[in-house]
Symmetry: C2
Subunit: 352 residues, 2 copies
């Protein structure tokens, strides 16, 4: 079955060389996984920019946020031949058994009039702050609900990987609402309106020995306190999403139900995009799901990069029946793709 999402010919639309480092002495290793929204007639992307110090010969370098260091960033260097250093994943390494990230991410705004050509702001709009974000903030979803934009993003620190939330009306001042889902959790997408009198969120907790990496749903009276968590959908043995799944951005309301785009990875950590349809009034019920990815890593910029074989999305723009899906490719650059919602809905296989 052919993919439903059509790549843009100008991909990648944003590369690391387009993005200035936030701090002297750092390099931009990846610019990826943007949230997407509309504001005053423009398309905004909220980029994840992943940085690290320039490494010297024979060393590996990363950095963490530290209010006592110059510029708030503390570089960390290790000798490559240090036996206490373990580097089996491009994204995470550990020293003396203590894991940490290989890059430090912040969020940065980029603006466009046509949704394809972006001007990137020179400074971060949001950096990690406090003890729960010392390893940075990542992969922000943006959704307008009621009267402001709500931002849900991954907050990483020694204390774990959690979901934090902020809100803004003008992209200049922000209110911070703290951690809404404790570790280990990622991939939080808010529904754009109340359903049955409550706000709803999708999130992706991870089990320890039991449980896996599945999409859950919860509701809230105020968007800040969540309860009644239920497992919405699980990874599927033998499919492209056999190991882990997580929501893209907010579900899209259609006559058929809530259309949820999501990412799925297999045992080899190959990340593709899928879609499922949720009941419009009972969003914890899955009506159907694609059996094949609607986008899978195939282009060079998707198969090879900072972390190979990845297409990952947390931002899209919907206009009528048309959706533009922004995505991170190989965890290194930003690309775009488009489809008709009708075609995505047509690729969903109803549950028996």
């Amino acid at each position: 079955m052919p993919e439903v999402l059509i790549r843009w010919t100008e991909n990648p639309i944003i590369r690391t060389s387009d993005c200035k480092p936030s701090t002297a002495g750092l390099e931009v290793a990846c610019v990826l996984n943007p949230g997407a929204f509309e504001y005053k007639g423009r398309i905004g992307l909220l980029l994840r920019v992943a940085e690290r110090p320039l490494a010297k010969q024979g060393q590996v370098a990363t950095c963490v946020l530290d209010e006592h260091s110059p510029g708030g960033v503390k570089p960390v260097y290790y000798r490559l031949d240090d036996p206490q250093l373990s580097r089996d994943d491009p994204r995470v390494m550990s020293y003396a058994g203590n894991p940490f990230l290989t890059t430090l991410s912040h969020l940065r705004l980029a603006w466009s009039h046509d949704g394809r050509h972006f001007e990137i702001e020179p400074e971060p709009v949001l950096r990690g702050q406090g003890l729960l974000q010392t390893f940075g903030i990542e992969d922000c979803r943006v959704q307008w609900i009621d009267d402001k934009y709500w931002l849900t993003y991954t907050a990483v620190s020694e204390a774990g990987v959690a979901v934090a939330m902020s809100s803004t009306r003008d992209w200049l001042s922000f209110e911070h609402h703290g951690v809404i889902f404790p570790p280990h959790n990622k991939d939080c997408a808010l529904f754009p309106r109340k359903i049955n009198g409550a706000y709803w969120a999708l999130h992706r907790p991870s089990g320890a020995r039991i449980g896996g990496h599945n999409i859950w749903i919860a509701n809230s009276p105020d968007l800040c306190h969540f309860g009644d968590h239920r497992c919405l959908a699980r990874s599927r043995d033998g499919f492209f999403d056999s190991e882990r799944i997580g929501a893209n951005a907010s579900p899209i309301e259609t006559d058929a139900g809530w259309l949820l785009l999501y990412h799925g990875a297999d045992q080899k950590s190959r990340y593709g995009l899928g879609a499922m349809l949720l009941d419009r009034d009972q969003p914890w019920k899955v009506i159907g799901r694609t059996n094949e990815p609607i986008l899978a890593p195939m282009a060079d910029y998707e198969t090879s990069g900072f972390f190979n074989q990845v297409v990952f999305s947390n931002g899209h723009i919907v206009r009528g029946d048309q959706i533009d899906v922004y995505y991170g490719a190989a965890d290194q650059v930003i690309c775009g793709s488009s489809a008709r919602l009708t075609d995505i809905l047509g690729s969903i296989v109803p549950h028996q």
Copy 2:
């Protein structure tokens, strides 16, 4: 430093032989980890009863909840020499890579007039129900708040290990509030009253690669929806609680602050009890903590059993300066111990 908690001479006070199986064909493997409360002049314990089918020669047996099976319990047998079977922990095994528990737990009431001699009800008061509890429910904390008892317990299923909540006024009818903390989470203890206009809970999420097993605190407008999660206290390298920590039952209000008893385990999974003191008005601030356990596995019934080297508590009764701490010993039997709150407070080392 000597232990602060004094064991009762009649320990264990409840053994597996005291407890009838809930279902024909099952045996009680463990009776452990009781919640404790007072009701109409009696002491109530809410026992965790862990059962399994009697295994035939050369087999291992467990069971899961299944509404389509007779009695609601589906037995599962595996041949011990099946190469797909993995049994490296007495509590968890896996088949073909799918983990499950070696026993199925329910909650059962026991009543006493003196707090030491208990009459155990013949039937479970709460069994697992629904898809998020197919592997049972465990380790219930009980706390009276406002106008009823609130029960927080571990709910286990293929979808993971989570915290679920129910409430009751009469121990006959229950209201179920679903999962309040998604996987991987355990050891939830509620504060007995509002602080600064909000309800508060301690819980113990677990990280995947990053984060460990630490005590977090969250607040709620209604006890059912939680937010503003913060990491309260972490495991400590080189101490008895170097690998994982989790709250016992509800914190105890004292003039000095909230006294929290907790369990800590080291890298060898040896579980002891410790104590910490939290600020009375800002309960996310730790004032001090014991450096030595106030109870550690030493008695025969603590060092050897279903899972060796464990003392674990999720229930206590406080009367004036006196505390009776009920605890599971070696994950197999129930014991009691006592101390003066003054002595526990005196063992806490203030933070510098």
